[in-house]
Symmetry: C2
Subunit: 83 residues, 2 copies
């Protein structure tokens, strides 16, 4: 089973990296860029085919390792279920 | 208009960071984790409401700044169109 976890900074948290990209895009001549926020994705291959169990496991992984829930949000998606 | 660019390593490229996360998940007791690959997401706010023009612009941004197309793939999504 393929899954994707997307970790993004909470909206209230400053994102200097995003700001830098915003500036760089402006310097490159891209107009109309409002705000840029950078996040992370994790593409995870899981064995087993129980979707609900996989979601629970992926959430636990996010809480324990992948996301810092003080400043970050995460979203879990199951991309396919051909295991 | 909100857009998301997802940049992932090409499948043929080694991902040591992903491997490290794989190992860490194993040490934390998560079983059945096959492979982990890490990528980046950019959430970009654009002015204007021309979807096709926005897509062209986002692709140009990816090629020029956000992705290293030698080793990375990118995907452009328009998340909403309420500009």
């Amino acid at each position: 089973m393929k899954a994707r976890i997307t970790v993004t900074l909470k909206p209230s948290v400053l994102d200097p990296q995003g700001k830098a990209i915003e500036g760089a895009l402006g310097s490159l001549g891209f107009a109309g860029v409002g705000s840029v926020r950078q996040g992370k994705v994790f593409d995870i291959e899981l064995s087993g085919s129980d979707r609900a169990a996989a979601e629970t496991q992926l959430k636990a992984m996010s809480e324990k390792l992948l996301a810092n829930t003080v400043v970050e949000n995460y979203r879990v998606e199951i991309l396919d279920n051909h295991a």
